[in-house]
């Protein structure tokens, strides 16, 4: 298939226009919509949605997949131009919230992000690629600028904390790679977050879940 990739300056201008005119208000409308769908659910710490900023989009658009760029049509292929996140207390909550996602949203992808090997620690989280509900699409927007999908992540507080800090201090494309010790220390914090999640979830199920079931 012939590549229809835009020139870098055209891609940046196109995304910037989309970001300003559609993605910003879309993210705000989505955050309200998701909050409405999850109203009444216990132990949700926060619900947020934000547009992917221009530089993150361009970094992702220029990622290599072997000898070629990973995305030949980044405006169509990058599906997290709007990313939403639900942060909840315990790992058991993630499964409950997942069921609600399935009720109110049409998913084209749902997966658990876990490190490749059981000997590794790193990024953990539940991700869905969901059809943007027509409720949040303003009819006045240029349809060509409205993405079809958004990404919804469901994370525990510890997963959220780890991914935010890792995003800040971890490796970014074009920067100096982390050395082995730095990587190991990041993996150590992930392992600690994983352990804390596990223990809190066990305590929750022993101490609180039976009570909430009997109420």
């Amino acid at each position: 298939m012939k590549s229809s990739r835009l020139k870098p300056e055209t891609l940046e201008a196109s995304y910037r226009k989309r970001h300003e005119t559609v993605l910003k208000p879309l993210a705000s409308a989505l955050a309200n919509h998701i909050t409405d769908c999850f109203k009444g659910q216990s132990r949700i710490d926060r619900i947020s949605a934000r547009p992917k900023d221009v530089s993150s989009f361009l970094t992702k658009a220029n990622k290599m997949g072997g000898r070629h760029r990973k995305y030949s049509e980044p405006l169509h292929q990058i599906q997290d131009q709007v990313g939403a996140r639900i942060v909840t207390f315990y790992r058991s909550d993630v499964d409950c919230l997942d069921k609600i996602v399935g009720k109110y949203f049409r998913a084209i992808e749902s997966k658990d992000h876990v490190p490749d090997s059981e000997w590794e620690f790193g990024y953990f989280g539940r991700h869905h690629i969901l059809v943007i509900p027509s409720d949040v699409i303003d009819d006045d927007w240029d349809k060509a600028l409205v993405p079809k999908f958004f990404e919804l992540q469901i994370k525990t507080l510890f997963q959220h904390a780890w991914s935010e800090a890792e995003h800040d201090v971890g490796y970014k494309e074009g920067e100096k790679p982390l050395n082995l010790d730095q990587k190991r220390r990041l993996a150590f914090t992930s392992a600690q977050a994983w352990g804390a999640d596990r223990v809190f979830d066990e305590l929750f199920r022993e101490l609180l879940a039976p009570a909430s079931k009997s109420n």
């Binding site: 109110y104 049409r106 509900p133 009819d139």
Partner: protein, 336 residues
Amino acid sequence: MPVERIHAYLVHPKKGEDDKTQPAGTDVPLSGPMLNLMDAIYSKSENDCDIDITFRSTPDGKQQNDCRDLLLTYLAAPSLTTGHAIAKRLGETTDLRSALGLLFLIVGKEGRDHKVVISRFPTDNAIYVEEKPRTLTVQFLERVFMKNKHSYKAVLYRDASLRAGFWNGRAIDKQINTPTSPTSDYWITDFLLSEFTATAAQGTNRFAKALRAAVHSDVPVEVKEEITAAARLSSGLGGQRMSINQISARFNLSQPAQAAIMKGLKKPALANEMFSFDAAEFKTVVAFKSVELDNGATLTAESDRFDKVFHKEQIKDQTEYVTRGRVVNEKLKTKA
């Protein structure tokens, strides 16, 4: 002329059969009356296809769909061979109760968008009459394919990207609400491996909230009564596939009642979106019906039981409500 290629296939229903033969197909020439018919189907599909559908992911949640893959292969290089795979799939998902079908794949470009209309004409019998000055010839025809208004099916896909697009489409399925029909599910669910874009809970929740907003809006009491009656009747729609507009039509709602419901939606277009009615979801939003009287009384009951627990009698311009039961609880509520 936006139509660029047309392929036609004769599709025999073969569900459950181990028949490897390919459906017979042909390139339809881009001229003459056949093109006019196809062009009309292609152009009208933008309005005719009104059911929003989305391809399903794999059961384990992967972003892949067999039917979409065939569609993308065909669109990347439209040919009799790449179209065969789609026709073959249709044959494999239709059983003998659906009879023979004539499948058209109509491909075109609309600006930057690639567009394809997949249309299935069912087979029928017909009588051909030829009139001459002194005679009339009557002939019985078999294998006539007609755009039968009861069983015609089509789907429209339009997208700019052949790599990441074509997840969503719009379909026509006139048999969608005939649960007794064996063919009611094969087009969208089996052949297209798709679902309504609006989930059952999402569509029902929208409708229930619109009803609730309409009842709380500044409309006359008669209109509110009409809407609450619709809410009561709606709880019996479980499993039926319809749009908010179709529900309003089913209950013969007056224009003011329909307008009040439309106002309760975030935008009017949502009233056209098809969904499968979820009675449990409906009850979570429209659980109780309340009636306020001008003497300060407020009567509340579960919305689908209100008319059973309160006996209503009209006395001139006033209404008397009577109920009887054992007191199990009392509550004081804030004004809000």
